[in-house]
Symmetry: C2
Subunit: 271 residues, 2 copies
């Protein structure tokens, strides 16, 4: 018996419909190239002000793209007609600060008081780096990007607090500068780096042992460059110990209808 | 009897202390030059999520600088040691969507469930325009900037909705472009213009009759240039008909300790 070749979904719409029909439950990386993918965080209304404020206070790790209010499942701006409870390939359910299960839909556990937050994802800035001729090490090696818990505290908001988590990509100095300039133009997906060089300066002990993702080699003449990372929200969510919360499963993102080229002006205007 | 010459307050701290002592109750324009001034909106906790979301969805008219949670009166980031209930020269109190009084302090009507929002103000982008050699007509004439209600609807959030309000400054085409480039670098104070030229295209009937502020002449060869304006929040606040809400009185702003030069990176990082 041979493995069935996986279908390539060319856009967000077809991928979401496949998830909704139960026909796609694996990672979204490599699908719908050119469309913005987003992190999902769902919390009860009682915690929604605190989480929204946490994002407002920490825009680099938590770049909000869209908030869907209680009573709705549709991200009208990122994807008209979407259903947040069924259109992602895989979800995680948290109770009292512990991940209790992964599911391929959360329609059956959805509550009327759930508020959904969609946040920018680093996939959207890796492509412009590659387009500029930079080698993104984790992609070149087919690995997940290494992510590290830092000693930097986010600004707290109500029940949400925790350390800044960063992702790391190594570059030579001149490319580090180009990467900083390119990513600074995309605040919707973490913006400019927060640090480069000595990991210890931001409380990282050992680059070979990332808290999330996979380590990558750093070649002679390269420096590690650190960007704020959306996993920061997961740490804050664990710390908040909400009775119930939902996120996407790592790598299993919400794929939108928004073109990456349009991201830089998204949320900039209604006009 | 001659009028007492008004004291010039060179920084936010001295101006706030004078307000707190009841020694300054007039406009803040022209004081504390170089320090960021901010709009104040105070709503009960029950409406705070909706207002925060309204700002998130309409960042150009509502550029949030700081949110002060229920139970606190201090804008810790903009001005450590500040007291939002006494440090502005003049406030407006709204009940059920109507302005019922102006006061020089609101400590006596403050409630434990009040959440305070401080928003960027166009004072902070007029100075960079002048520094670049542009004539800002309203300032040159010593008038308030003209502001117009447009036919463009803001994105609604809960009880908050309403039209976009814009301010207008006329410039020749080449200066319009410079003004757009300069202000685009300051999203914390409304960012790039939303329109220039034909007022009717955004639902403005008559430039000679602004809904707020004072009309200014437009010379031959100039075009009217329109920026999103913080008065948008006042329209949304009136529409929301909250039982109780407070704002600064027009022109009587919260003067912070933040230097205008530091504004472009404010909220960009905790690092």
């Amino acid at each position: 018996m041979r493995a069935k070749a996986e279908t390539y979904f060319p856009d967000g719409h077809s991928l979401r419909l496949a998830c909704r029909a139960g026909e796609h439950a694996s990672q979204t990386s490599g699908h719908a190239l050119g469309y913005v993918q987003a992190n999902l965080v769902v919390v009860p209304q009682a915690a929604a002000f605190d989480f929204l404020l946490f994002c407002q206070r920490n825009p680099k790790p938590c770049p909000l793209l869209e908030v869907v209010e209680a009573g709705s499942l549709e991200a009208v701006r990122l994807a008209a007609g979407s259903d947040l409870s069924r259109d992602l390939p895989r979800y995680r359910v948290f109770r009292n600060g512990e991940m209790v299960e992964e599911r391929t839909e959360v329609a059956s556990v959805w509550r009327d008081d759930f508020v959904s937050f969609l946040l920018g994802c680093s996939f959207s800035f890796e492509k412009p780096l590659m387009d500029a001729g930079l080698e993104v090490r984790n992609l070149a090696l087919g690995r997940n990007v290494p992510m590290y818990r830092t000693g930097i505290a986010c600004r707290a908001a109500g029940v949400f607090s925790g350390p800044l988590v960063v992702s790391m990509r190594p570059f030579p100095p001149a490319e580090t500068i180009r990467a900083a300039v390119i990513s600074s133009a995309l605040p919707q997906v973490h913006g400019a780096p927060v640090h480069f060089g000595n990991p210890d300066a931001i409380g990282i002990r050992d680059l070979a042992v990332p808290e999330y993702g996979d380590a990558v080699p750093i070649h002679d003449g390269e420096v590690p460059v650190f960007w704020a990372c959306g996993v920061t929200t997961q740490e804050a969510l664990l710390n908040a110990k909400l009775p119930l919360a939902i996120t996407h499963a790592p790598g299993h993102m919400f794929v939108s209808d928004l073109r990456e080229e349009a991201l830089h002006q998204f949320n900039e205007s209604v006009w």
